[in-house]
Subunit: 343 residues, 2 copies
DNA sequence: AACGTCGCCGCAAACGATTGCACAAAAAAT
DNA sequence: ATTTTTTGTGCAATCGTTTGCGGCGACGTT
């Protein structure tokens, strides 16, 4: 071995005992004399012995490793989730192996394959935008392989999910806009196939209804790409004509909101006086732009913590969530900043 | 096995051949009849056989896994680095196992321990702020264990490093400000003890000298915390008095720049007309604020790519960088946006 | 007919650790 | 003094895969 890492055999040879004895001595098995235990432990210490986790995995078919599949690490939201996952994993002596799909289904599949061949004990998944067929997940779940989905819900009946209350988050945001006197509220929506987009749209609609405003389909525009440029263009189209102009925007995403903000400024509309604006996800920049952007904050860290905690319970068979599937819904928080306050 | 994953033995049993034959057939070894190969491959396909990577690791003492140690995932810069690492790793069939230290030395050490016992093939490290003694790294390097450091340089003579040219980045930024006619340029500096802060400050000073401006110590203020609030306050103090007011700011960090921007606005100074502003790191928000912030972009993705590429070369013994240590310095890029352009 | 060659394949050890079982020696019970 | 129990340890198989070595039958050559 390159590292010259000491093995049980090394200790055994040196001490003229068998590997079995060393193994047992190290783990304080009964039936090993105190004398032997002492000697073994001393030498192990001296040689800086560390059990070979790979050999252990093979023997026990348990790797103390969990796989995490996310679309993109660079998303602030996902990085906070990872952070939460990492914390709990570390505290429980689990390793985290990471794969980003870049929103591509083929990478999702092949990542899962290599993770499985690495004998991961469980999987934490936020699937890619391309994923519409969930068989590669449900097949595993049928074999009782532990999976917890977060943020994006799969269409699998007995899936274990951790999400955020997107409906409520959107509802609160739009209700807030209404309470500020905005009446004609645009929704820049997310990709149709993502459940979160649907939920946010539903929350938007319900808030309108409860606020006595009739939803208008022409005010709901899908910004599927989620780039600034896209929403910039969309916003220009919506607001360019002074006749019957909308007076607020609820964006499904802060980046989208940022694009909209730039568009509004470019056509000399004031925020929040002329147009109110609320985003989603509380990206790092949202408090720093001018005006600071009101937004719905998702508890990324907590999502990560919750998801892995449940996964570990499944792995340890403490809970069998897949028998009575659980969907944990965490609360969002509406952060009211300047962009939506005009009263 | 929970997953009922087919093994070579299963295939062997089914086909009444030995495991060796199956193994060889799958890898197209010479000396196996085409007929057998065909049958083996067919069955392997049918059973959806995937080699057990753990067994392979044990056998070959090579795990195709590399460990990444970073202070915090949530930093935008680090997440881009990870993204770069992930890409190259994936392309080379390597796995990435991730540990964040949260800037703590004990976690750094224990993470390395568990990674080593997982037989990682190499290590990519950006060490914690608490790390001042590098023996836990140099010990490994003495055993020829492949390590590449990025962003933060250790005090180890034969270390392999990948960093960014902080001096040059600062130099370009300040030279740009001078070329725009700004003459009294403040530097909001980083913590004195970080090498990167020093480099940036040196670049700032050299640019002034080369631009025919005498550096003025009173214009260099340390913003050690790096928060918006801190730089807001500092900026107010510096710019509040109209007499002999500075006319530009070079901030060591975009967040610091953002705080300064808000301060300037709050005292009705126009950017870039009255005050020019350049930040550092190209945070995601910098292009979205108003005015868009000029900044020095650090190629995080490329740092990640470069570091892991070198690491893989070391692992594959193609290069022995540790014999003739290499320090790759990547160029920054000055992104000129509105906040610093008045000509 | 005897021998060499070649194609095709199996045996068994190895990687490092665990563990059921057996076994020897020492201690205790009869 | 013999049997039983206890104490401490070792053997060997196992996890899944690879690989050096050797074997065996079929063929070709003299």
């Amino acid at each position: 071995m390159k590292l010259g890492q000491a093995t049980i055999k090394d200790i055994a040879r040196e001490l003229n005992v068998s590997s079995s004895t060393v193994s047992r001595a190290l783990k304080d098995y009964p039936g090993i004399s105190d004398e032997t235990k002492r000697k073994v432990k001393e030498l192990a210490d001296k040689l800086n012995y560390r059990p070979n986790a790979v050999a252990l995995s093979l023997r026990k078919s348990k790797s103390f490793t969990i796989g995490v599949i996310i679309p993109e690490v660079v998303h602030f939201f996902f990085s906070t989730v990872i952070s939460g996952i990492e914390e709990v994993a570390f505290a429980n002596n689990y390793n985290v192996i990471l794969c980003q799909t870049n929103e591509r289904l083929d990478r999702e599949k092949s990542s899962i394959d290599t993770m499985l061949s690495n004998q991961i004990d469980g999987l934490l998944v936020s699937y890619s935008k391309e994923t519409t067929d969930f068989e590669h997940f449900s097949k595993l779940m049928d074999l009782e392989f532990p999976i917890v989905f977060f943020d994006r819900l799969p269409e699998i009946s007995n899936a274990v999910n951790v999400t955020v209350n997107d409906f409520e988050g959107a509802y609160q945001a739009v209700t807030h806009l209404i309470s500020q006197g905005y009446k004609k509220i645009v929704h820049l929506a997310g990709p149709k196939n993502l459940a979160i987009s649907k939920k946010r749209k539903e929350g938007y609609i319900q808030a309108l209804l409860d606020g006595g405003i009739t939803p208008d389909e022409s005010l709901i525009v899908e910004c599927a790409a989620g780039t600034e440029k896209e929403s910039f263009d969309v916003t220009i189209v919506l607001f360019d004509n002074p006749e019957n102009r909308p007076d607020a925007i609820f964006a499904h995403h802060d980046i989208v909101a940022a694009g909209a903000m730039m568009a509004l400024k470019s056509i000399n509309l004031r925020i929040p006086e002329d147009v109110g604006l609320v985003g989603y996800s509380n990206w790092q920049f949202s408090s720093m732009i001018d005006p600071p952007l009101s937004t719905v904050s998702q508890p990324g860290f907590k999502i990560g913590e919750t998801a892995i905690t449940m996964l570990l319970e499944m792995i340890d068979k403490k809970k069998d969530y897949q028998k009575e599937p659980v969907h944990v819904v965490l609360d969002t928080e509406l952060l009211i900043r300047k962009s939506s306050v005009r009263l």
